[in-house]
Amino acid sequence: MEKVIEVCDLEFTYKQTGKKAVDRMNFSISDGEVFGFLGPSGAGKTTTQRLIIGLIRGYSGSISVMGKERSLWSKDFFEETGVAFDFPNLYLKLTAAENLRLIAAYYRKKVSDIDMLLDEVGLLQHRDQRVDSFSKGMKMRLNFVRSLMHQPRLMFFDEPTSGLDPVNAHVIKDIILRQKREGRTVFLTTHNMSVAEQLCDRVAFVVDGRIVVTGSPRSLMIEHGTRDLKVGYSENGNICEKLFDMETLGTNSDFLSVINEKKVISLHSCEASLEDIFIKLTGKRLVCE
């Protein structure tokens, strides 16, 4: 499959602090893929993303985006890309529609219908309201649709659901999934496991500026888990738990007697959670939201 982003031996050191934020990083993202950078804050996720977007300059190694080295791209790069930061950057004195129209004017491409965009994120009835009266969730939603109104081929989201309540987070996740169905490529960063699990085709674990492992969430969870089934049941008023090997469940008499004779309360397969894998591989915790 065609690679939209290919990063080779990428390194970057902040001049002011002398901190090496990105250290020999290698990865690639295919066309139509949702790729997630997962890691604790300060791991270098955002720095890498910003290097690819072109907000920070002075890297070594190579970043090839849509077939061209990033440093050789002109501003036309942004005709094909959409960016949404983790903080809503909006003109507070302008209305929702004015905010979209103002930015839309800078693209050569014709942008999507503004009312339709606002409707998608439930802001249509607020289109002529000034943004300073919006709640944080509304601002984030508006900020988010702004990044996709010119139908970019490649999108960057930095912590797309950070600080949002479950309802707003759900709206955002839905839109990202729709982008994926429409065949767009998405590169996001997050420290939220469930976001990574629900959205990403592949994730990369990032710690101290390096990628520790890359893979699909599902395959990582199976690979690093055990093939056991955990059964919870009640016996004489007490709650008990037992582990059984999944390979031999059908012939395991112990298991069959529990299932047949006891009151079963819960059944869990023991694949690892992304959080477990992260701790196992890096010795570090992701920060819980």
Binding site: K15, L55, R57, V83, N89, Y91, L102, A105, Y106
Partner: protein
């Protein structure tokens, strides 16, 4: 096209922030005061008023505009659109210069009825305005708040305003024409009291060249300190 769109949104922004309203009041006050002056000094006083207020308003406002866009984060969104930094700056300079021209003309027209070389007047105001607006961009690049901005404006004022007194005339005062603000004031006064075409043309050329070089420099400072912050 992008720069035109940027220009119109900057004008809209300035309008919403009340720039035009304030300048209507400012123009009114100046016109009242100037109309009180005796006829022999009114033209010169008008030229000096235009030079000291409307034509340098860019310096006063650009810092606030850039710091606000930086603070609200919209600058970082503009950076991720196809809008080029040079287009961003150009549109801001143009918008403020249009405001400068409009208010300068209003003051000049309402205050005196002498013959004025309007072309020279407009060119001199436009060059002064863009020059000082660019200074404002450079100052704001390293400022965190308005008070700091106002303080950092002072050295520029001293450097560019004080030498203007050289036009009162003393030996070697022509040397001061190398300072852009003095050259611009010389042109503006020339629009009222006459100036040799040769001198006017060379001063205009000189200021245009300086503005171009300053624009290149401003662009570099803007990208280095505001856009990439490296």
């Amino acid at each position: 096209m992008r720069v035109v769109n940027a220009f119109f949104s900057d004008m809209l922004f300035m309008f919403k922030q009340g720039f035009f309203t304030v300048y209507v009041i400012v123009i009114g006050i100046y016109s009242v005061i100037l109309s009180f002056l005796p006829d022999d000094i009114a033209p010169m006083a008008t030229a000096l008023t235009v030079f000291s207020d409307p034509s340098v308003l860019g310096l006063f406002f650009i810092g606030g505009v850039i710091m606000l866009e930086k603070g609200q984060g919209v600058l970082y969104v503009l950076v991720t659109t196809p809008l080029r930094s040079r287009e961003y700056l150009l549109s801001k300079i143009l918008a403020l210069t249009v405001l400068a021209l409009l208010s300068s003309f209003a003051i000049a027209v309402m205050s005196t009825h002498v013959r004025v070389n309007w072309l020279l007047f407009a060119l001199s105001v436009a060059l002064t305005s863009s020059f000082f607006t660019m200074c404002g961009v450079i100052i704001s690049a390293s400022c965190r708040n308005v008070n700091e901005y106002m303080l950092r404006m002072v050295p520029y004022m001293i450097l560019f305003v004080l030498p203007c007194f050289s036009l009162l005339g003393f030996p070697f005062s022509w040397l001061f024409l190398a300072i852009p603000s003095v050259a611009a004031l010389k042109l503006l006064l020339g629009a009222y009291s006459g100036i040799s075409p040769m001198l006017a043309a060379s001063l205009l050329l000189y200021l245009a060249l300086l503005s171009y070089l300053l624009f290149r420099f401003t662009l570099r400072v803007f990208e280095r300190k505001i856009v990439f912050n490296d």
